[in-house]
Symmetry: C3
Subunit: 265 residues, 3 copies
């Protein structure tokens, strides 16, 4: 592989992309700080009265349905349409899809109307999206799908999008190449918002480098390598979160090339 | 007393309860992380379109009115009715009750229509609820009620619920036994969200062990003992919060039995 | 100058002012904790059904439009009218003014109808407000205005308000005196919510000491001096935030007099 994630990291730091989020109120502050520490700049406006104008100045749009409601759904649709018209990357995090009918309908509607460039979720949610029989338990999910990889490849190809499934192993595909990423630490499961933060990372990298599978691989790996570093600077889940931001902010481009662990098929 | 809080802690870690919160946007992230570190898993959905379906998969429902509005009030009512029908524990935190007529009406409505299993508040709010002459100052409250204990006992008995009043001394009663808890540190007053976090703890323990006075005593004590431990690992209110999460996550069952300090009447 | 900021700090700690915020969901938790660590007590209610009654018990009202929507705009108007009637200080943070027409209209409407006592923003937003040709990029802003100082002086005089513009150098004026403040550290740019936190600081000091240029200078300086201290107790943007709260909470009145750096014209 000639793929070096450092090139993406350098580009992010050069472009300093503006990432417009319409997201949930639980982890929004984490997303803002991750965005900054990764090299981007966050916009968090979610009023239907202004999102179309706001997204025009952004480099990418992140839509996270964690605490979706009718007001913010309308804003997502408007921002998504405006972003789509000018070809800006849209990254969708379908939090909890499959947990309720409403959530499933919302996600189907957003995918069919906005054609997101990248869909990022945990493995259980991904199973729901690509039609595997998944097991969703709240926002934590466990997938029992045996052919998840094949279905992700087919879905990505058919929908011309990039899919990212996170968990102990992360999967990324654009319908052609299938990446298996193995950086990260179990502690990530013990902190609220690490999933949303990965989505933000992907938005930052897509905003600077375009919504490719490779930029998503670089984004997820940067986050997970920061997490590996942070483990040595914390005493538990509480101190892990600020340590992770420190590590993300301080990461050198050569570190990501040295530490990244993935296979491509 | 044969009461050992470690039994409740072990049960929580075995059950890993899902706790559905409809809560305020100020401290929601703290609640999510406390929920995880205590051994639970948080759901934070607050859309009226899905809360009934969402709460069906949860083990307990926490309703916190800190930044209540008409939209989330409607969601609380729907989620509460659905939880009540199937006998799931409802924990109400009537933040700021007595501070405005609206807030007082909201709390009266929620209590009379949903019959929460547990009501948890600070002492000033508890005074308002049980009809003592309290002094409410913002969300911090001071009670001047001399017969608070008697009124709590009577209210809990009449309403067949558990009451928890927090402060330098915490009080818990189910209308029969009255517990006085004396763990905790003054630093808890210097961090936003510690009251809401205790409510989350009670939700986690009620979700796993049922909404008894004993499970509430174990929940409050676990939080306060974590706070006592965290004091030795911080340099002020800012570093206290992550240290508290670390301590909560790392706490051993034997520690809670060893450190717990309460009297039962 | 006979101006000693310690006098304002001592007054804040004596009065323990209640500061009612109607603010954004991104940094609201930071604002709550900064409010407490600075010596105040936060109220975060934003329901139109109760803000008029709630603000009656507060010492100052902070309006931050970071994630403004129609619901919270209505609440801001009601709370502002109620605060204005009884002469309570109103502090406006016009986040992102100039970024969208909606946001600009909202700010013009709030200024003309509520006559805020203090308007606090970053330099790009301030340029928009006083009619300089600013450059706004998301919530980060860069001003290219050469006569910002003159325009701030004129605007403050005409509108009988205090203006605070933050950045590497902070500017404060009441239309007569013009203060240039040079405390602070570049790290403040790497953490979401430091701008909103400064607005909260100004609200706390205005609530206890009145909305004068001098109380704003003391508030901004206290925050920036805490940031200077925190730099020595952190390893990056993640650990900087809790360290800043620790420093703010622990700051001695003599420290602010010793460390403050400003010029008055």
């Amino acid at each position: 592989m000639g793929f070096r994630p450092s090139g993406y990291m350098l580009k992010v730091r050069e472009v300093h992309p503006l990432v417009h989020h319409i997201t949930n109120y639980v982890t929004v502050n984490d997303c803002a700080n991750v965005c900054i520490c990764a090299g981007g700049s966050p916009i968090m406006s979610d009023s239907a009265y202004e999102v179309e104008e706001m997204v025009a100045s952004a480099d990418a749009l992140v839509l996270n349905i964690g605490t979706i409601n009718e007001r913010t759904l309308e804003s997502m649709k408007r921002a998504g349409k405006a972003a789509g018209k000018v070809g800006k990357p849209i990254i969708l995090d379908p939090v909890g899809v499959g947990a309720t009918k409403y959530r499933t309908n919302v996600v189907e509607g957003l995918i069919s109307s906005l054609h997101p460039s990248i869909i990022k979720s945990n493995m259980g949610e991904m199973s729901t999206i690509v039609g595997c029989k998944g097991m969703v338990r709240g926002v934590d999910s466990v997938s029992s799908c045996k052919d998840l990889a094949d279905r992700m490849l087919a879905f990505a190809k058919e929908n011309r999008c990039v899919l990212v499934s996170t968990g102990p192993t992360d999967y990324v595909t654009d319908g052609r190449t299938f990446f298996e990423l193995s950086n990260g630490v179990p502690m990530l499961e013990n902190v609220s918002g690490t999933g949303c933060s990965v989505t933000t990372m992907i938005g930052v990298y897509a905003g600077a480098c375009g919504p490719s599978a490779e930029s998503a691989v670089a984004a997820v790996s940067a986050f997970n390598i920061a997490a590996e570093d942070a483990i040595g600077h914390c005493a538990g889940p509480g101190t892990f979160k600020p340590a992770l931001l420190d590590s993300l902010y301080a990461m050198k481009p050569e570190t990501i090339d040295e530490k990244v662990r993935f296979k491509a098929f």
